[in-house]
């Protein structure tokens, strides 16, 4: 159940996720190697616009990518009607965006 627009949204979101995922993994290895405590990590991320943008765009890309991927699985497994499918896709997108945004806020807001 993909047209060109959804296909492009899924590919572009994947392209955005690749460097961000690598950055995230590199960051985690650095933090663990350096033995940073949760408090020390928060001290660095809170109030940092750069980290907010980094994880904010990660969350946005994940929400788009996962919602479209699930849409295909739901449609092909259950042959759901298009209106319901659209509603479900938007729900997944907004749900992930909301949860992700809360996490980013918690880690990067002052």
């Amino acid at each position: 159940m993909l047209d060109l627009r959804l296909y492009m949204a899924q590919r572009i979101s994947a392209l955005i996720m690749i460097p961000l995922t690598l950055g995230h993994i590199a960051m985690m290895i650095y933090a663990v190697q350096g033995g940073l405590s949760a408090g020390e990590i928060l001290a660095r991320t809170q109030g940092s616009l750069a980290w907010m943008l980094f994880y904010g765009s990660f969350v946005a890309a994940v929400s788009v990518h996962a919602a479209i991927g699930l849409r295909v699985i739901l449609f092909e497994s259950f042959k759901i009607k298009e209106t319901i499918l659209n509603a479900l896709s938007w729900t997944v997108f907004l749900g992930l965006l909301y949860m992700g945004a809360r996490a980013v806020y918690a880690v990067t807001a002052l």
Binding site: M1, L4, M8
Partner: protein, 247 residues
């Protein structure tokens, strides 16, 4: 038939054939003599000629040219005139059914309309760019576009790939491997003037972007074509046009 020898030991095989009047249906069993160099089409013809003359099936050329004889054999789509019994016989049993993913007209005869309707929907038709008054355009057989088209051109419209494709099963609007493969050959035809309409046609909801690239079509295409590669070509071109045509 009398000039074809039965196997010396008179061995037979168990053949289960799908019988249907279009609504519902059931398997019917037949004992069919085994012969040397016997094809699935020979088996079906033997049943029709010797056991039950009401059995309906379709074939024409018997040599792998016309694409009309495809059926499901032991659950897999095959061109029956070129499939040898010894290649697919399991435990001395054969199951023959009409092609998957298509409505059934009767017995082994699938209704090919949805398959061919999708060729039209995918703009699998040539859009002339010249009139008959113009000189014929010379196309080099080595031109990269021609080479690309050549790779996909030998399709016999058998719908084996269509029956093999799980996305067709899951999404009845999906145009399917053969129609999209055909569209790709035309995208590589320099004389064709329909590139933009075709890119729109293959970008619809049932278009090329639904392909999962798992290559069942490649695995089963009797002519060893690669519809997945053609579809990947369409995905590439539509993605490029997504930016180009927004300017």
């Amino acid at each position: 038939m009398s000039n074809i020898r039965d196997m010396p030991n008179g061995q037979t095989m168990e053949v289960r054939v799908w019988r249907s009047d279009g609504e519902g249906g059931r398997f019917e069993g037949f004992d069919v003599p085994q012969r040397e160099s016997q094809t699935i089409l020979d088996v079906v013809s033997w049943i029709q000629q010797n056991a039950d003359s009401t059995l309906s099936y379709r074939f024409a050329c018997r040599v792998g040219m016309c694409g009309s004889c495809a059926m499901m054999v032991n659950g897999q789509p095959r061109w029956t005139c070129r499939t040898h019994v010894k290649k697919v016989l399991k435990n001395n049993r054969l199951t023959v059914e009409p092609l998957r993913n298509l409505p059934v007209i009767k017995d082994l005869v699938a209704d090919m309309d949805p398959f061919f309707d999708k060729w039209v929907k995918a703009e699998g038709v040539f859009h002339p760019s010249k009139t008959r008054a113009d000189a014929i355009e010379a196309i080099s057989s080595e031109h990269p576009m021609r080479v690309e088209a050549d790779r996909a051109i030998e399709c016999i419209n058998c719908a084996v790939c269509y029956a093999a494709c799980d996305v067709v099963e899951a999404n009845p609007d999906y145009l399917g491997p053969a129609a999209l493969n055909r569209a790709w050959t035309l995208m590589n035809d320099e004389r064709d003037a329909g590139h933009d309409v075709r890119l729109d046609a293959v970008s619809q909801k049932g278009g090329c972007h639904n392909c999962h690239s798992q290559q069942s079509c490649v695995r089963f295409c009797p002519n060893e074509l690669n519809p997945t590669a053609s579809i990947a070509g369409l995905k590439r071109e539509t993605a490029k046009s997504f930016f180009r045509r927004r300017d």
